[in-house]
Symmetry: C2
């Protein structure tokens, strides 16, 4: 399974980067890196193109021995000790921040973990998800993104779209703001109570669905006209993105505590962000419509 998952994420990285290169009109920068304690990765980042302010698509395979602190942020269960702290992790992680404030930021991440020998129940699991973070709310975009992911879930017995959508809304909660980072999507942290190949098939299907979930949205929004005030609002939303990733995100914490490659871990941060003191949004505006959807998550497919 280690090899199958590693092969899959590398293949998906190639497919996604090929598509992004065509849209963005520039090539990505690739960095292959190795990790002193074991493993490494291949980071690809777009910047300076016509569509993305900053866009990264990373794969990595890391292994070694966890610190108790890292084991805690890795999740998946109870207290660990001794050889249980050995781990293997591989996955793909991408964050795309478009220039146009009408085009949403998107994040997706699919990963496979093993602990110890990875044979005992509970010693391996898959995690992942995809979520959409617009600065302006287009309901048809939210519906399309959720529909594609629901379809992927519906093709697999191991998946439960309703549960994963709820998990996404819960996970991406910025508690100190009382709002979610984005509109939702799917999130699952430890799928391990089914056949391992079935889990792999589901995660593969999700990863293969990414482009069809996002590209139609990007095509519709990337060339829309916008004002400098709308760009400022995007920058303020970028600030919230930074707040979530640095304060709450478990993937970031895991990377910071396992001595991962810092530029790859923080690749998810936007190129620029803004914090205005006491920024206020007036009811009735488009900005307020977005905030309402972040404060009170919706089931996009049931309205």
């Amino acid at each position: 399974m280690r090899q199958k998952m590693a092969d899959m994420v590398h293949r998906i990285q190639d497919e996604i980067c090929e598509a992004l290169r065509e849209i963005d009109g520039v090539d990505y920068r690739q960095d292959e890196w190795t990790r002193e304690e074991g493993g490494g990765g291949r980071s690809r980042v777009f910047s300076g193109g016509k569509v993305f302010e900053k866009a990264g698509v990373n794969v990595s395979i890391v292994y070694g021995t966890l610190s108790p602190q890292a084991a805690k942020s890795m999740g998946g269960g109870h207290e660990l000790q001794g050889t249980d702290l050995d781990f293997f992790a591989t996955g793909i992680s991408l964050v795309l921040h478009p220039i146009n404030p009408m085009a949403p930021t998107v994040h997706a991440n699919y990963r496979y973990f093993e602990r110890g020998e990875g044979q005992k129940p509970g010693s391996w699991w898959f995690g992942g998800g995809a979520d959409l973070t617009p600065s302006y709310l287009f309901e048809e975009d939210a519906i399309h993104f959720h529909q594609v992911h629901k379809d992927a879930c519906d093709r697999h017995e191991v998946a439960d779209f309703t549960k994963f959508k709820q998990w996404c809304d819960d996970y991406f909660y910025i508690k100190h703001r009382g709002e979610r980072r984005g509109l939702g999507g799917i999130f699952f942290d430890d799928i391990n109570d089914a056949d391992r190949d079935d889990c792999f098939a589901f995660v593969t299907d999700c990863a293969e669905s990414f482009l069809s979930s996002y590209l139609p949205i990007l095509e519709r929004r990337k060339d829309l006209p916008f004002t400098s005030e709308q760009k400022d609002w995007q920058q303020i939303r970028r600030g919230r993105y930074v707040e979530f990733n640095l304060v709450y995100d478990r993937g970031t914490t895991f990377g910071l505590t396992t001595n991962g490659r810092i530029e790859s871990i923080l690749m998810s941060l936007p190129l620029t962000a803004r914090w205005e003191y006491c920024h206020e949004v007036q009811p009735g505006t488009e900005e307020y419509r977005l905030l309402e959807a972040l404060r009170q998550p919706r089931n996009w497919l049931e309205n």
Copy 2:
């Protein structure tokens, strides 16, 4: 002591804001807020003036019962329970981010804590410090800032400048970057092993020294010419400031876990920040000179 400290920080807030108003050419925005669980504060923020991109000077008095998590981030000792979780805290906190990349960001913070009745040894303490965060290194600025704070320390038996400078370098360490947030200053987290009035006199002296530690530097740098590349570098340094504050800063953690006023807690964040993937700094440049001083702290008064 509660009243004496509260009076002092309000007086210092007035003095500092008066001076900043004169330099910045605009008035501050003031917000008085109350905290549901007890207490409140007075936040003053400058923005849109000719010198500061964003500058906040806040005072607060908060009290109530701590959550065990908040008690932990509050510091000052051992595990707590029962009525020991009652607390009182008052202080002043300021962060000034100038527009000009040649003018350094500065932070200062002086606070007094009580736990329970505040009568037993170890149940009250003072904390605080001031630190300088330039984007470009002017050694005379670093020397002046440290000299003023050393002079304040030297006037009080309860203070130890050498120890507090070291504490500052240790505290403002951005571990995942291998660099400090700034050039240093002083930092002390729990002064409580002396007469309470002597401690108060020291903290008051520090707070009263703030303007003379920073204004001469600001005057020298605020109108220097700069390029757009230098402004970009400042924005990248602002990104590191955000990383420290959201990932490591105990004051921010304390605020986020005690349901403080979110806009006052995050007032310390810059107006704008930037994250370039794999930004590289060439040896021999001014940017590299700064980085060297952040990677290897110096004793500015002994060179």
